[in-house]
């Protein structure tokens, strides 16, 4: 016997293992790229001057922070959904107050152009 999450872990591992196995099979049928020009990343014909890996400015970081706030709120909503009917109007009003405050946060972020970056 397994716990349910153990079972799901096994399923995930089997799926991932099959995918990795198939991938290596592709490598067996044909040899991998052999010469240097074959490995140059595609840029429309020219070769790059530098590596592509770079420390770029994640310009949507303000939006990402907003997401964090909402993600936490969502965590509260899961148990709330289960007890909602039992608690009745009280649960509804309490969550509504919470959400209204968060939604004002979105409006503020939007006004401050936190959702745009280019």
């Amino acid at each position: 016997m397994l716990t349910a999450l153990g079972g799901s872990l096994i399923i995930a591992l089997v799926a991932a293992g099959l995918t990795l196995g198939l991938r290596s099979l592709g490598g067996l049928l044909t040899p991998p790229c052999t010469t240097a020009p074959e490995r140059v990343p595609f840029l429309g014909g020219l070769s790059p001057d530098t590596h592509a890996w770079s420390r770029f400015h994640v310009r949507y970081y303000a939006m990402a922070l907003l997401f964090l706030a909402f993600d936490m709120e969502m965590v509260f909503m899961y148990p709330w959904a289960v007890v909602f009917l039992r608690e009745g109007m009280k649960a509804m009003v309490e969550m509504l107050m919470f959400i209204v405050i968060l939604t004002l946060g979105i409006l503020y972020a939007w006004r401050e152009r936190a959702l745009r970056w280019a």
């Binding site: 014909g45 070769s47 790059p48 770079s54 770029f56 970056w117």
Partner: protein, 447 residues
Amino acid sequence: MAGARLEVGVGQRPGILKRLAAMAPVRVFAISGSESAEIETLLQDLELEQEIVLTDSPSSANVLLAMGEFPDSMHEPARRIHDQLTRPRRTLWLRQNVSAPSEAIFPKAIREDAHCDLALLLRKIHRDLLTGVEPSEAPILPDEEPALWRGVGPYGQGGTGMTGGVPYGRPMPETAPDRDGLALDQLSVRVGPFFRPFPSGLTLALKLQGDVIQEAAVAENPFDAQKSNPYFESGDPFIRALSEPVPVVEMEMARARHHLHWLCNALQVHGLGALGLRTRAIARSLRPGVVAPIAQLRRILRYSRSVSLVGAGVGVIQPDKIRDRGLGPVARAAGLREDLRMTDPAYQELGFEPVVHAENDVRSRLWQRLDEAMQSVMLAARSGNATSGGGGRVEGPRGVITLDGNSLSLLLGLLPDLLHGLEWGDAVATVVSLDLDLRDVRSQRVS
């Protein structure tokens, strides 16, 4: 084992996997130099073939389709693309004159002229490749690493920079201040000349921060160095109209077809490949007066809000920069009422009024060309035997053409300013919306 069965000897029947693969749609990466109108038409028709797929990047294509003549500066990029194709690979080179002397850009390529049955030929090449009848082409460029691994320590580690040393010969991106004053990495890349959404030959030297363009510059036009231009010698009605009267119906149908082919490319870039193919098919079977298919296409685009999803507020040009420069649809999409046809008696008789859109962004350029195509089809039906032209100036599909040139180079010059600060997708949409053609820019200026 499946692997063992796949290895077939000479004269043996290929394994089931190889036979199935041989029946798969042919994956083609197409690159074009300066080609004749005939070859261009072949490519447009090729997209309508169901068993041919034109890929966006060479890495998953088996056949390289090279079209026309390539100026010297495009040889190395073309060869690099050739090497980037997956194996098994083969090259088909379409040329106006197959026996024309040339330095062998693709030494092993199959050469054909514009009269071949292209789809059939590609399918045969694909079948022969996958069943092992023909061997895969070897890489053309020499097998040289960009540079040796350099670093301080025994594994190349140490030194300065993010990972230390110079891994794999390429340096890490340089650090540069971004527009918020942060010192971060900046990618310097040159995109082109065979980047599919861009017109052939266009190379942009860019400085990227993430997906935002910090700085853009247009590299030299490779076609400047070319002496002859098949496009200019073709029977293009607008080129002919410079020196002789040409039936209005011929010019207007050519204009409508031009705009629809452009629309097909734009729709493909915006993720609407199937509607793009529909546009191609409409362009191919276009008849004067029959606007219903175009009108239906327009309705689909309007109800799905696709055009405003991709282009509202993107790529706005200051109207003053393009006023009175003969930039045709781009100017008219900026609300400028300029069109040589307004002063042409033949067109005045037909009651011609230019279509104008005011928003001046990618969206309005899409609507502009779609509406002009419909207008041209209607004009062609009404024009009867009217002729126009011979005055040395004519309104072409990309704007005014005169004996000394056109103003497309002006649009090229505007690109750095236009692209500055744009997100990558918006930048590509902007370049596409201008309908540039680097061969056209050159031919007009030289002649």
